[in-house]
């Protein structure tokens, strides 16, 4: 029982409500306090990243011990997979909060902003750490409701419309998930993920099982914006304030969407080949269609949002290939390679997409527009923004030696080795189109001659924004070190072992 695990939920929740009280009386309290809280959480999460390894920490909230080896309390589980996601949540959260110190001056009601920000972080940490289904739902709703409010934070017509659309589709997803959880409880009489796995392995009704899987997949697929369910994402992510866009696009869709899908389909359901093929197909479709939708965009944040869909498609496709191989039971080393590529790309995407949205926010902060056609010549006046966004653009389009290249390379190699040649070819083509799209972004924003006369007296953004962008770009370069086998064994391999081993997760939780 490691007492540090619940701190990931308790500290942000307490911080949110402290901000609501103390922030009323002390000016400036909210911004520095939020950054401090998130810095603390980042330190704790990195401590866990270096100590967890193959171990699985279980925290029984309230001290309820299992009776007859049946878990009865709420479990919080920290293993090799969740620790990676917790790390990126808190790190990107800290950098976004630090960035907001200068960015959020253009909005009033800073207290509400930072309180909602803390709730968003607390909810996502809860989703990732929770060991039973209903708490996943509760924390999901905490983070999702605060993200509804944050998307509508500008209270202009676009923001409100995006938030409305997001709320309707998000509400639909929530009830689908709740229905699925109800079905699972009806059939197994338990909510603990490990216990459900054990209960399903003793036999189940095929039709009901498939129905539950479809409900859960469509619910979390809506949250993760996989292609047939993607309609809300470009609006919501482009309307939110930029640090929030970085959080939503960089972390949120992974923590509440992709993470839960991967966790439930590997560790709770028995992997069936049909479901694995379906997930791979969804991933491929969103990879291809997302990038084609992104080409025609002239609004920077919409362009980035569509690229999020496409890059998430890479992750889902790669994990799906791993799933197919695991379900066939052949070539386990290629399966782990594919899953490694997916997880590596997930981490990388958090870094470079967060950085790109922060860049977009910096551009919007200085020249007040998001339209690419009205920009130009910013490279001279904003050197740091220009350089960091160049690094991020090259990362996302897979140019060596940045991190995106290595993860895409692993994904393509895994697809070729698993004899999915079409998927490998599609991944290469999508990567090239991504490169073209980001060259357009670079050219129009930074290198073109400015055709706007009021652009001549612009300066670099203030220090907190510069700091966040520089740190993220350094991370973008450093993450490519994960391709070295020793570092990969220390960080990615425990996560892959948890996912590919069908019984390790459930048995090691149930014996504790």
């Amino acid at each position: 029982m490691n007492p540090l695990i619940p701190l990931f939920v308790i500290i942000p929740l307490a911080g949110a409500f402290l901000i609501m009280i103390i922030g009323r009386f002390i000016e400036e309290f909210n911004k520095y306090f939020t950054s401090l809280v998130l810095l603390l959480l980042t330190c704790i999460s990195f401590y866990f990243l270096f100590t967890t390894g193959e171990k699985i920490f279980v925290y029984k909230v309230g001290g309820w011990e299992p009776i007859n080896s049946l878990p009865i309390g709420i479990y919080m589980v920290m293993d090799g997979f969740s620790v990676i996601v917790v790390c990126i949540i808190n790190l990107i959260g800290f950098l976004s909060a630090f960035y907001s110190i200068s960015y959020i001056k253009r909005y009033t009601a800073g207290n509400y902003f930072y309180a909602l920000f803390c709730l968003l972080i607390g909810g996502m940490n809860g989703v990732v750490l929770s060991g039973d289904l209903f708490n996943i739902f509760v924390f999901l709703e905490i983070s999702v409701i605060s993200s509804y409010a944050l998307v509508a934070f500008g209270v202009e017509s676009n923001e409100l419309e995006a938030s409305f659309k997001y709320q309707i589709l998000g509400g639909l997803a929530s009830f689908l998930i709740l229905f699925g959880i109800g079905f699972i409880y009806w059939k197994t009489k338990t909510l603990n993920i490990a216990d459900i796995k054990a209960s399903f392995s003793s036999g189940y009704n095929k039709t009901t099982y498939l129905f539950i899987q479809i409900l859960i997949l469509s619910g979390f697929g809506l949250k993760a914006a996989i292609i047939p369910f993607h309609a809300w994402l470009p609006d919501a992510h482009s309307s939110a304030p930029s640090p929030i866009s970085a959080m939503l696009s960089g972390v949120f869709i992974k923590a509440v969407g992709i993470y839960v899908i991967i966790r439930l389909f590997f560790n709770m359901f028995a992997i069936s080949e049909g479901m694995a093929v379906l997930i791979t197909a969804l991933g491929t479709v969103s990879m291809v269609i997302g990038v084609f939708l992104a080409i025609g965009q002239w609004d920077i944040k919409r362009l980035l949002a569509y690229h999020s869909i496409s890059q998430m498609g890479y992750v889902v496709m790669s994990v799906g290939i791993g799933m197919i191989l695991v379900s066939r039971g052949t070539k386990p080393e290629i399966a782990s390679l594919a899953i490694a590529g997916g997880l590596f790309h997930l981490v990388n995407h958090a870094a470079f997409k967060g950085l790109l949205f922060l860049n977009a926010g910096a551009i919007e902060y200085t020249i007040g527009t998001r339209n690419l056609k009205e920009m130009g010549g910013l490279a001279k006046s904003m050197p740091v923004t220009s350089a960091t966004s160049f690094i991020a653009s090259m990362s996302i389009s897979g140019v060596p030696p940045f991190n995106g290249f290595f993860s895409k390379l692993i994904i393509i190699i895994a697809a070729v080795m698993a004899k999915f040649y079409l998927l490998a070819a599609l991944a290469v083509i999508v990567s090239i189109i991504t490169l073209a799209s980001f060259l357009k972004f670079q050219r129009y924003a930074f290198f073109n001659r400015s055709n706007n006369s009021k652009n001549h007296n612009i300066r670099e953004v203030p220090f907190p924004m510069v700091f966040s962008m520089v740190v993220l770009s350094i991370i973008c370069v450093l993450l490519s070190l994960l391709v070295i086998p020793e570092i990969r064994d220390a960080i990615l391999t425990p996560a892959i072992n948890i996912l590919t081993d069908p019984v390790k997760y459930s048995t090691s939780i149930l014996v504790q």
């Binding site: 007492p3 308790i10 307490a14 409500f17 609501m20 009280i21 309230g62 001290g63």
Partner: protein, 145 residues
């Protein structure tokens, strides 16, 4: 916001206190009977909303009320977290641990920390529902001007 007629005001004055007391009863007996923090909090919020609707109040008063209620709500939430953390400090190093003596089943003062949670959750729910109501009303008043 304008209030309602004298008849409504008088009737509300008679009823609201009783509704409020009933809400407190539901909260305090939360660990013995159906109900508890959420149900009782909703009842209390109902009585507060009834009074505000019948008596009305000018714009500034509503804003003041809203900011006061926000502080109460946040305080109640922090108190819930504090009780959870005190389980860590006084009990067996576990959050949400029930560290107080359990007492006898069926008595009012029993079940350890559960009544405390019920009371704080009740305050929190009453305050937050009242805030939702107040902010919607304040928004309506703003758009009139």
């Amino acid at each position: 916001m304008k209030g309602m007629t004298l008849i409504v005001k008088k009737t509300t004055q008679l009823i609201a206190g009783m509704i409020f007391m009933y809400g407190i009863y539901v909260i305090v007996h939360g660990h013995l009977t159906p109900g508890g923090g959420f149900a009782g909090g909703v009842v209390i919020a109902g009585s507060l909303i009834l009074i505000t609707l019948s008596n009305g109040g000018d714009f500034m008063k509503l804003i003041k009320e809203e900011s006061g209620t926000t502080i109460i709500e946040s305080l109640a939430t922090i108190l819930v977290i504090l009780v959870a953390v005190s389980g860590f400090i006084f009990g067996t190093k576990i959050f949400f641990n029930n560290f107080l003596p359990k007492g006898i089943v069926g008595h009012l003062v029993s079940a350890g920390v559960l009544p405390l949670y019920n009371i704080f959750v009740g305050t929190e729910v009453a305050a937050s529902i009242f805030i939702i109501f107040l902010s919607l009303i304040i928004f309506k008043e703003e758009s009139k001007e």
